[in-house]
């Protein structure tokens, strides 16, 4: 019977290919859709972990020109700077537990730079946002002049990236976050200040005013336990001039809200597409009922019982479903992996592939669902076929 099922499938390549394609589509919808949803959730989780700060303070000019979400999703606010004296004023605000500064710089699309890229300088001594990530990525200490690169930066440890005519060796590569942080490179404050000086010399940054050693781009604040980050942000906004303090929670909530809305739409779309594909699969099996009437009558003629006949139909459906769903799952992973960056950019949300365990669970769920879908779609046809009177079918000629 197993051989007969395989021979039937191989003997009708067109029909088999059509069923295979439908199951593949179903599996692609379920697994691919699930992967996208899961990647968005993982991305949001990663974003929350990466930020770590309760309040971020940036130059007021930057806050006016930059969408705050951009800071979180792309990692930088662009070429806006404030003086270290401002940081001192911010530090005096009540309720601050930890404070760390970062400097942002963009490389140029010119011969002085290997690639156009965002450079983020941080202070390993005071940092509480990037360092934990570096630990997760198991990177060693970051010496002066060296860079750590994001997961989507095309440079390997041991190679060098030229920035403003300064060759910076790559010390290591970081774990992906699913955000714009993956396309940036990281270095210590002294390194980025050297780069800023070089950038100024090349005329790359007219907006860098004053001594690079006295400027920063953003201040990251962790508030004391029991203190409302809103109070700290409000206090800074009132008492410190030319800066804008924002709560990270509010931005994460905004991202989470958009994700939640998108999640609902995507879930509905996935369900609608899966139901539609399943209905087409059901229709395909039903149409085949008429086409295969004589074939099944021949088998009944040779002594095959109704049960065994239904078993043959189920076996064929199960084989096609197994192959189609496995191919669909494989293709889902391939496509989502290949286009994860583009998907994240298109959706404007952090996008990070889920862990191996979650991905395996999704794959198994899609495989199981599609393995059931094929035979389930064939069930009505199998029952109808097995009930048909052999003598009548043969009589019809």
């Amino acid at each position: 019977m197993k051989r007969l099922a395989v021979k039937n499938l191989l003997g009708r390549p067109g029909r088999t290919a059509a069923l295979f394609f439908l199951v593949l589509l179903l599996s692609l919808t379920l697994c691919g859709g699930g992967l996208v949803l899961s990647s968005l959730r993982t991305g949001l989780g990663s974003l929350e972990n990466r930020l770590g700060a309760d309040v971020i303070v940036m130059p007021a000019k930057a806050a006016l020109k930059t969408d705050l979400d951009t800071l979180f999703l792309q990692g930088t606010i662009g070429p806006y700077y404030m003086n270290m004296s401002t940081v001192d004023k911010i530090a005096k605000t009540e309720g601050i537990s930890r404070l760390s500064t970062q400097i942002f710089l963009s490389s140029m699309r010119a011969s002085c730079c290997s690639i156009p890229i965002q450079v983020i300088g941080f202070d390993p001594e005071s940092d509480f946002t990037v360092s934990s990530w570096l630990k997760e990525s198991r990177q060693g200490s970051l010496d002066e002049g060296r860079l750590l690169v994001g997961s989507r930066v095309n440079a390997n440890p041991g190679e060098s990236i030229k920035l403003y005519n300064i060759s910076c060796p790559v010390a290591g590569q970081l774990q992906p976050t699913g955000t714009g942080l993956d396309t940036a490179v990281y270095c210590t404050l002294p390194t980025i200040r050297t780069l800023m000086t070089a950038a100024e010399d090349l005329g790359g940054y007219s907006s860098i005013s004053g001594d690079p050693s006295e400027t920063v781009s953003a201040v990251y604040i962790k508030v004391k336990e029991g203190v409302d980050p809103k109070d700290v942000a409000d206090s800074i906004n009132v008492h410190v001039r030319k800066v804008k303090a924002v709560q990270t929670r509010s931005v994460i909530t905004t991202v989470a809200d958009s994700l939640s809305g998108l999640e609902r739409i995507l879930t509905l779309l996935i369900i609608a597409a899966a139901v539609l594909v399943w209905l087409v699969l059901f229709a395909a099996f039903t149409l085949m009922t008429g086409e295969r009437k004589k074939e099944f009558a021949t088998l009944r003629l040779c002594g095959l019982s109704r049960g065994r006949l239904a078993g043959l139909v189920f076996r064929e459906a199960a084989i096609v479903s197994l192959l189609g769903s496995a191919a669909g799952v494989g293709l889902s992973f391939l496509l989502v992996h290949a286009f994860s960056g583009a998907l994240g950019n298109a959706l404007g949300l952090p996008f990070l592939l889920p862990s191996a365990g979650t991905a395996a669970t999704l794959a198994l769920a899609a495989l199981f669902g599609c393995l059931l879908a094929g035979p389930l779609a064939a069930a009505v046809s199998a029952r109808k076929l097995s009930r048909a009177d052999t003598g009548l079918i043969l009589r019809e000629g």
Partner: protein, 226 residues
């Protein structure tokens, strides 16, 4: 094995509706004895094929009973009925009844394989039959490559290969030339007389009457003397 039909009837509806029907077979008593070739003739539409299907366990009668050696062919358990049919009854239907996804040899062995009775020498035996009916070179061909006469011989070999005690053949010599008609009829006669099989042939052809032990004629669903 003796097949006995008592008071069997089968009616078909011309269109939907309880009153618009006709009897293809009407209250028919009939029997097929062992080791004999019974031939059933009659005009088209007289009910021959319907009667054959009912006797072969393929079409449940609306009334009456069909039994093989006292066993009801239409008992409540389909699995048992089918297994019995596969083991003891073989049918060569009038129309095309082969699996298009199997080659000629696999089609010839289909009945045996489904009954789980394929033996080591089954392929050799099938090839012998193919050779006897002059289609051995087509053993690997697919059904779509065969003519009507070649297909008919494949269906006959499939039936003969099962070594069932009862063989039903509906127009087994249709589409065959004179030489192959002779061979087929000879094979059926040998099966009846040397292997003690019960044979029912439904035919229009007078040629078949030469091997008949008993001849019946059907007219408007009833069996009348030939």
């Amino acid at each position: 094995m003796e097949i006995i039909a008592k008071g069997i009837s089968k009616r078909f509806f011309r269109k939907a509706g309880e009153s618009n029907y006709f009897f293809a077979v009407k209250e028919c008593d009939f029997s097929l004895p062992e080791a004999a070739v019974t031939i059933l003739t009659g005009h088209s539409g007289s009910g021959k094929t319907t009667l054959l299907s009912m006797l072969a366990g393929l079409l449940a009668p609306d009334a009456g009973l069909v039994s093989a050696d006292g066993r009801n062919l239409y008992g409540p358990d389909d699995r048992e009925n089918s297994a019995f049919r596969g083991r003891h009854l073989a049918v060569v239907p009038q129309g095309r009844a082969v699996l298009d996804t199997l080659n000629v040899l696999d089609n010839c062995l289909l009945g045996l394989r489904l009954a789980g009775r394929e033996a080591v020498d089954s392929i050799a035996k099938a090839e012998e039959w193919l050779d006897r009916f002059e289609i051995l070179p087509l053993r690997s061909a697919m059904p779509r490559e065969l003519s009507g006469g070649e297909l008919r011989r494949v269906m006959l070999i499939r039936a003969l290969m099962t070594e069932a005690e009862v063989l039903f053949a509906d127009e087994p010599t249709a589409d065959l030339d004179e030489e192959n008609t002779e061979k087929v009829l000879e094979a059926l006669q040998t099966a009846a007389h040397q292997q003690q099989k019960t044979i029912l042939i439904v035919t229009h052809e007078n040629e078949a009457l030469k091997i008949a032990d008993r001849v019946f004629r059907m007219n408007k669903g009833e069996i009348v003397p030939a």
